[in-house]
Subunit: 356 residues, 2 copies
């Protein structure tokens, strides 16, 4: 073999040796419930894709697709299960119609706050229960960003009593929707991208969305200026869903990279949403003086609480896994809330007095 | 060249081609302020090391060393700066003696809660200011886990008035220590590993540590049964420090892996600590009935607040960067707290009423 031949052989076998690296390259698609512009809900998947690419030197690529493209915002679970998309970013309670238990992994009316809920998920058996619920769908489920306490929604008129709720057409999903239905509200769920139009056309009279950071950009206040404090979504968790076969076929390094990035971007969304809400809230009084910030009267809240317990207990009576999850949450919350009262609540109350 | 020769050549150049992968293997050392048993504070570095190894298939190895080994818990900054350890895990306020500004990246008495502080760090310019402060030490600084609201500490006797603080020997670090010093306390800082012995021997009469999850394991209640609610560390951030040269010499993938893992394990510590505190708190009444849970009287809190403002303003008058950071925090907190009151505080208060 001459020199040229040797050089060629070296080149060939160097390429061969390099091949496994290229063979590892993975390209995934991720579908979101949200339109791409719906930040900060739509932010974790975009950040995830960037981090995963950076951590693998571009060997693991995730293409993020917003609902404006796939047009199926409330079919993320099916599309991930079926493998059309390896991943989804959504909220678990959108699958209540398929399986009631999914609903209470997002949040529960009068339930845990963010610290309590994440502690329950990661250190109170919540993750294991969530996976037990999602095993039947052939997907892995991970917390995908928490909003903290959400606002109670936008109404055209003041709610002075439970009677004022009767006959109201409102977009409010999941358990809270059933609670309002019990109190006489005509409840509907509408995909995030169609909320403003529905309110504008009178398809609905009221809606809840997230909080000031996201709501004010949507323009709801122009039509429904009564903005109520929260009761129904004290700590809504978004969710990453991953097709099990796709995840299991990843090299272990990529599995670890994906899971770590999910946890990083999920924590990040909470900070991001808080910052946007704080900013929007501070501007609201001067820039949108027509917004009327309200709290529901205590008898209305009492009625909501009673209806919440009924809805949850009804599901628990019918579904053993729902019962198991609910009881796990209640037991954790009982302990967690006592500590929250001694730490966060006491501190905030005391600060109010001292900062006067 | 015969067949054997060709095979040998293929083998050699395959090894050459594979070499860059091995050349990339990085071994780092990380020193903690904490003893290895001091979970959950000591947990983020251990989890970080595991994640980084998993994500790189063992190519990036971080050896975590507790204070029981290196014996220099309060010299982490110097050891990271000097490169003896590529990384450290500590709390920023331990460097107040070197640079006052470092103190207020951990927490501030009567300052921001966790949500407000993390939002300020990641979305309010806090990270940039922290790096501006740490540039002079040749290290990168990252948030490394938040404790949430810490308890106000353990006292041998009840604090009924500001007079009861006078002459008290207490371990309480940073700004809160200076506040107590102004109120007549003999303040000292003691490394975490020596706290119980110091209290037991009467070197100190009182101390603050973290919260029930960590405190009860330390046994302080056996000596000082008055356990006071928090005012001075509403959201203490631990901190990862990284030697700049070491970080800059990492391949970009490893840099991204390290930063992402830091964010993941930091969020995780908050959940972990919350869960442990909730558990410990719920057991306290039955297992340790001698513990007397107390709140400082309002006049004492008012005196602490006044002294806090004096201490902070004194530093701000002397140090332009301290002033810049303090003003940035105050401006963010003013907005953030209004949103916290409408969301978290209102929700917790309302839940108390409804759950009665």
């Amino acid at each position: 073999m001459n020199m040229k031949g040797r050089m060629a052989l070296i080149l060939v076998c160097c390429l061969m040796a390099a091949a496994p690296a290229f063979a590892k390259t993975v390209k995934w698609n991720l579908a979101m419930t949200w339109n791409s512009t719906l930040t900060p809900l739509a932010t974790p998947p975009v950040k995830l894709a960037k981090l995963v690419s950076d951590m693998t030197g571009g060997q693991f690529v995730i293409r993020v697709e917003g609902a404006e493209k796939h047009k199926a915002p409330l079919e993320i679970l099916d599309m991930t299960k079926g493998g059309q998309y390896e991943m989804g970013h959504t909220a678990s309670y959108y699958w209540k119609g398929k399986d009631a238990t999914t609903a209470i992994f997002t949040t529960v009316p009068f339930g845990m706050n963010m610290a309590e809920q994440e502690a329950w998920l990661f250190y109170g058996g919540g993750m294991e229960l969530m996976q037990k619920c999602y095993d039947k769908f052939g997907v892995y489920a991970f917390p995908g960003g928490n909003t903290g306490v959400q606002m109670g929604g936008w109404f055209r008129k003041e709610i002075k009593s439970v009677d004022d709720l009767k006959g109201l057409k409102m977009r409010i999903p999941s358990v809270a929707g059933e609670v309002f239905a019990k109190l006489g509200v005509n409840v509907t769920n509408i995909a995030p991208g169609e909320l403003y139009t529905s309110l504008d056309r009178g398809t609905i009279d009221a809606l809840e969305w997230v909080g000031p950071g996201m709501d004010i950009k949507m323009g709801f206040h122009k039509i429904a200026p009564y903005y109520y404090a929260g009761w129904h979504e004290p700590a809504s968790d978004m969710q990453f869903l991953i097709n099990k076969k796709a995840f299991d076929s990843l090299p272990p390094e990529f599995q670890a990279i994906l899971k770590t990035a999910i946890q990083a971007v999920s924590a990040d969304m909470f900070y991001d949403n808080f910052a946007q809400s704080a900013e929007a809230w501070s501007k609201m009084k001067t820039e949108f003086p027509n917004i009327k910030v309200m709290t529901f009267p205590e008898p209305v809240l009492q009625a909501m609480k009673k209806a919440t317990d009924e809805v949850l207990n009804d599901y628990a009576a019918k579904d053993p896994l729902f019962k198991e999850v609910l009881e796990s949450q209640k037991a954790f919350m009982a302990k967690g809330r006592e500590w929250t009262k001694m730490s966060e609540l006491y501190y905030l109350q005391q600060s109010e007095k001292v900062n006067k």
